[in-house]
């Protein structure tokens, strides 16, 4: 504890030199009693971006608040200003210095800094969101919170299978890396499953990957042009998944009447408002719930560390709630339960 305190002091002096940001909302939640036995203090270190980003950071922060409320603890956040290990590390150190006992880091970019900090502060529990850990190299006070993307994709695909009129569905996605592959193939399998259930033989859902390159997730024009190509060939439900690339697809699909699009990761109703005319749902990682769940485990003493999995689901239908038949909604709810319980496999390896 003492060692960590000294490290914290060091970090704070670094901060004084102008390297790190001060806690953004230190005043909104009193952390002066952190360190007293039994009090859970949760610090969220965001990735670049704000806790109002309607995406990962916001979901994690809401989860931390919900978790804090449930265990009667304290929650605060620091917004990172740069995507560097030094920035993340310094922000983590600020919380450590104030004797926080749970630190949540958001996004795979923070993985290195989180692994290092977990080794440095063995008394603090770390929750790394969207960080798949090599558990042979990490300490037991660190949990990497992940999601089964294929399950989220499958549920979204199942809904797509009931919403398509032409039977033609597709996915415009980022680079073919494991999480993207799981989303896309899960989606295709979900569509096929829904088709089989209705006694229809749908053509296989088409997956269009972005070519390799550092622009794979920031190429909205690619997403838009590819979605348009699918639309013009009668594809009427399209899953657009992959950062800016996917968002470009969503926005383009929204411009064509009578077509549906599905977002990814978080409820994109908020993150890509221009997609609202077509956005029936988003294949979602339940980040807030997963985070709150881990905090509850810390309180209960059942926190295990290692790779843990949160639940997935699909986002609210918003205005489409009135357009998606109630019978379909009921089926989607039922299939979600089956998928989450493991009684139905997605067929994605």
């Amino acid at each position: 504890m003492k060692k960590s305190f000294i490290a914290g002091i060091a970090a704070v002096s670094l901060a004084a030199l102008g390297f790190v940001a001060a806690p953004a909302n230190a005043a909104t939640n009193d952390d002066s009693k952190c360190g007293t036995a039994g009090l859970i203090c949760i610090g969220v270190v965001t990735d670049i971006g704000h806790v109002t980003d309607k995406s990962f950071n916001q979901a994690a922060w809401e989860g931390a608040q919900a978790g804090a409320k449930a265990v009667g603890g304290v929650a605060n956040y620091i917004e990172s200003n740069a995507a560097t290990d030094a920035e993340y590390g310094n922000n983590i150190a600020l919380f450590a210095a104030k004797k926080y006992n749970v630190i949540v880091t958001v996004g795979f970019l923070e993985a290195n800094a989180t692994v290092a900090a977990a080794a440095k502060y063995p008394d603090i529990k770390f929750i790394g969101i969207d960080q798949f850990l090599d558990t042979t190299k990490t300490t037991p006070n660190l949990a990497g919170l992940n999601w089964h993307e294929d399950q989220a994709g499958f549920i979204a695909g199942y809904l797509a299978g009931y919403m398509t009129k032409s039977g033609k569905t597709g996915a415009v996605v980022g680079l073919n890396i494991p999480p993207v592959y799981r989303y896309a193939v899960g989606f295709a399998n979900g569509v096929a499953y829904a088709g089989k259930e209705q006694g229809k033989k749908f053509p296989a859902s088409k997956i269009i990957y972005h070519p390799a390159g550092d622009n794979a997730f920031s190429d909205p024009a690619f997403g838009a042009a590819n979605s348009a190509q699918l639309l013009s060939q009668g594809y009427d439900v399209i899953f657009a998944a992959g950062g800016g690339t996917g968002n470009g697809g969503l926005a383009r699909i929204a411009k064509t009447k009578g077509k549906y699009c599905i977002g990814v990761d978080v409820d994109q109703w908020g993150t890509v408002p221009e997609a609202q005319p077509c956005l029936i749902t988003s294949a979602e990682k339940l980040i807030g719930a997963g985070t709150a769940d881990q905090i509850a485990k810390v309180k209960a003493g059942t926190f295990t560390g290692g790779n843990v999995y949160g639940n997935v689901g699909i986002a609210p239908y918003h205005t489409f709630a009135s357009k998606i038949p109630a019978s379909v909604q009921a089926k989607v709810t039922a299939i979600t339960k089956k998928i989450l319980s493991g009684s139905l496999a997605t067929g994605v390896k």
Binding site: P211, P220, L230, R252
Partner: protein, 331 residues
Amino acid sequence: MKRFNIKIWQLLLTIALLAIWIYSYIANTDITNSVVASGMRFGMPLALAAMVGIMCERSGVINIGIEGTMLLSGFTGFYIASWSKNIVVGLLVAILTGVLTSFVHAMMTIQWKMDQIIAGTIINILASGLTSFLYKEGSTIPNSWPIFDIPLLGRLPFIGHAFFTQQGPIQYLGLLLIPAIWVMMYKTRWGLRTRAVGENPGSADTAGVSVIKVRMINVMIGGAIGGLVGGFICLELVGSFSKEFTAGSGFTALALMIFGRWNPMGAFAAAILFGLAQALSTQLQIFGVTNIPNQFITMLPYVFTIVVLAVSAGKVRPPAAAGRSYEKEQA
């Protein structure tokens, strides 16, 4: 002076492409239309971005800051459109931003005679840093430029559906703008002066053409087009701003400009060719060609472009004075 240096291979390539087009049009009209239209969608932003390069280099100024110009213009265009709730204002601001950015480039390269590559790099770095730093999530514009069909033209057989339907106004504008630039470059006094300044500024100066003025104006017209592309992507094609949305297209555009031999129509053809390759790669994925790894399929447009470049380009000759600042000789 020959404007279309059509060589035999170019003719063959064109005939081959036309033959493939006609064949597939007969075989499956809908898919062919869809692929060609998609090629246009992929190609038009690149073609317009290549025009920026042509405007600048034809007058003797290298501009590798196209990427940054587009990024900055897309940024200001989008946020102003979001703030004013008016996409017309947004587009105008995007164009204005392009002009201002290129004005900076013009001042650095023409007036202060800085190294042109470095000046362009500065603009790229500045644009990338500034737009990332000022970026704010969740802003929206009331609507993006709508897509529509052009009456009559859209119903033309063969080309109508692919070129004149389901696109936005700036996409259509590009179809007018690029030939217009070609006409201006080769058929007007201004074009002659521009080319003279780009090839031999000393002679142009002797003939009474103000090298500095011609260059300044051309670079800024180029900037306006760059701004238009930024606005095109953010306000029409996509409808939102995302960080680094240009995704390297400013540099691809430079390659297409060289491929098109600094000729507006040539660069346009090159961009459409690249766009078509991209659309075909997508179509292969839609056809569900699963026995070829998709990494290979997604690579094809690039391989195709490199092959076509290697086979066809031969020796290209940039404007002779491109990249060199003009110093008046001492009397």
